[in-house]
């Protein structure tokens, strides 16, 4: 399995020289199997860059097929949707899967995003591709064209996000973002189960440990929480993800250097454009 980060920044897209190495686009991750099957997680602004790449393939000719998993519908995870070019080519078949937000449905939420006052697209029905929107129930298992996906709800401030354990080509990637546990050193059992023995754990690490004090309750993890999950689950590699908009390249370098010091497993910060081969 191959993985590429198209957006790694949390909350807000960041532009300019201080964000070039790790990247300023908001969340979007692409997974590819050996056979070329593809799965995308989240549609932050990174999805606009992924879209350019996809348009050079069968998606440009209206022959693409794609499954997209949404961790949740906070804007940084869907703001690339109206600009995801494969949606505008008739013939592409694209399925968006995600949990219903409390009191609403996934489809109604995305329809709200494209409401006529907010978006010149004026509604999902104006996307030319064949787009289906499927609500999923966290805790269930999905079979998505060569990807076996186990899902679980994890706490994210006053709401829940869906985390994913994805198995393909005999490898396991666990995606746990955006999440905040009651205590950084006591991750929820669902999170640990999802990351059990994973080859790669991608975890929310929005806050450096020393900043976490004033940001408790905002729904995001300090680096220590990502480590706690990796340790308890015996994950083989840890990727710190969903970087704070305030974290410049130099600040992320410092966090990683610090994290690597006493880590029993390899740990990296997700960087836009990076390919990982599993």
């Amino acid at each position: 399995m191959r993985l590429r980060f198209w957006g790694v920044r949390g909350s807000f897209a960041m532009c300019g020289r201080n964000f070039l190495r790790y990247g300023g686009n908001t969340p979007c991750v692409e997974l590819l199997t050996r056979d070329g099957e593809r799965l995308v997680i989240d549609l932050g602004t990174g999805a606009t860059e992924l879209a350019k790449h996809l348009m050079k393939t069968e998606f440009g000719k209206g022959k693409g097929r794609l499954n997209i998993l949404l961790s949740h519908t906070h804007l940084d995870h869907i703001q690339g949707l109206p600009f995801f070019a494969p949606f505008f080519i008739p013939g592409n078949r694209i399925r968006i899967l995600g949990a219903d937000p409390a009191g609403s449905t996934l489809e109604a939420t995305l329809q709200n995003q494209l409401a006529p006052c907010y978006s010149p697209l004026e509604g999902l029905e104006n996307l030319n591709a064949y787009v289906t929107i499927d609500s999923i129930v966290p805790g269930t298992t999905l079979e998505l064209d060569g990807f076996h996906v186990q899902t679980a709800a994890v706490p994210h401030g006053n709401m829940w996000t869906t985390a994913f354990r994805i198995t393909a080509d005999d490898h396991v990637v666990t995606f746990l973002s955006d999440v905040e546990y009651a205590q950084p050193d006591q991750p929820s059992p669902e999170a640990i189960a999802l990351a059990q023995g994973a080859d790669l754990l991608i975890h929310d690490a929005m806050h450096a440990d020393h900043e976490y004090g004033h940001r408790r309750g905002w729904g995001h993890s300090p680096v220590a929480a990502a480590f706690a999950v990796a340790r308890a689950a015996g994950a083989k590699r840890l990727i710190l993800y969903h970087h704070s908009p305030d974290a410049t390249d130099a600040m992320i370098d410092a966090v990683v250097a610090d994290a690597q010091k006493d880590s029993p497993i390899p740990v990296f910060a997700a960087a836009e454009g990076t390919y990982l081969e599993l």
Partner: protein, 304 residues
């Protein structure tokens, strides 16, 4: 009076090496009078950095802020939940827009912070929000600024503003299509639709009103999203080219036209070429053409 560009990009923010010089954040311009009074034009992603600047220089003292919205497409409002002063108790934020009464501005703005989209709902934000509906042609004042809203041609409607203070004027004309091929109303366009005679008359009136409203304006910031060959493919998207902006500004006797709301696909090198090309075209037509860059500060008023 001067203006500062905090976001110059259209549609969505574009991080990365290709936008380092012109900037990747979306629509947001700050207008400052000589007295220090301020109005903010649009609340795109550029508003976050402006909010940080205000917090740092204002000593955390709550103030009253005025935000004039051209319309409520995401690229013009997405920065609002990230505006730091909104989280300082005692702050007052007055938001102005032409959103029709039927839609009401408060629920529209509250809609972008509903829990599906953002962790903190508008009613929990410490700042006090006020919402004002503006109408093209009906002027009003904010501190020493005289503000005149101007109707534009954009999907679901948009208004521009002419702002006068300290003896000169700046206008903000975004987003707008030209006034020839398409009349934007309140339904989705998948391409060009035939114009009725009535549509043509409405377009003519919009254009005439715009030219009149910009008469002898010192500086005009204009939606010039597309290059001409791009516009030809997407005339129904609701945006203009620099040529469209120049035509209007030359006719109105404007001193300086600022190219603004750059397409996300225009990288810094393209922007350099475009800026040089249009500087020449402007000179030939008697209008100074400047290309907006994030962080740029422009003095408004004829150079002494």
């Amino acid at each position: 009076m001067d203006i500062t560009f905090w976001g110059v990009r259209g549609s969505y923010p574009v991080p990365g090496a290709a936008t380092v010089r012109y900037g990747g954040q979306t629509s947001c311009v700050e207008v400052r009078a000589d007295s220090g009074a301020r109005v903010i034009l649009d609340a795109g992603t550029g508003l976050r950095a402006l909010g940080q600047r205000i917090s740092r220089t204002g000593g955390g003292v709550p103030a009253r802020h005025h935000i004039l919205l051209s319309h409520v497409h995401w690229d013009h409002i997405q920065g609002l939940p990230f505006f730091e002063p909104a989280y300082v108790p005692g702050t007052q934020i007055a938001v102005y827009s032409s959103v029709a009464a039927a839609d009401e501005l408060r629920p529209v703005i509250a809609g972008i912070t509903r829990h599906e989209f953002f962790p903190m709902p508008l009613e929990s934000v410490p700042a006090q929000f006020e919402f004002h509906e503006v109408e093209p042609g009906l002027g009003f004042t904010i501190d020493e600024f005289q503000v005149m809203p101007i109707a534009l041609n954009h999907p679901f409607g948009a208004v521009g503003y002419r702002i006068t203070a300290d003896g000169s004027s700046v206008a903000y004309i975004a987003d707008t299509a030209p006034f020839t091929e398409v009349l934007h109303k309140r339904h989705f366009l998948n391409g060009l639709e035939p114009l009725t005679n009535e549509d043509r008359a409405t377009l003519g009136q919009l254009r005439a009103d715009l030219v009149r409203s910009l008469r002898d304006c010192d500086t005009v910031v204009y939606d010039t999203h597309f290059l001409p060959h791009e516009y030809e493919k997407f005339p129904h998207y609701g945006h203009s080219t620099p040529d469209h902006g120049l035509e209007i500004c030359a006719e109105s006797g404007v001193r300086c036209l600022v190219l603004y709301h750059h397409a996300p696909s225009h990288d810094d090198d393209m922007m350099d070429d475009l800026a040089a090309d249009y500087r020449q075209k402007g000179a030939a037509a008697g209008v100074d053409i400047v290309t907006a860059r994030e962080g740029m500060v422009l003095a408004v008023g004829a150079p002494a």
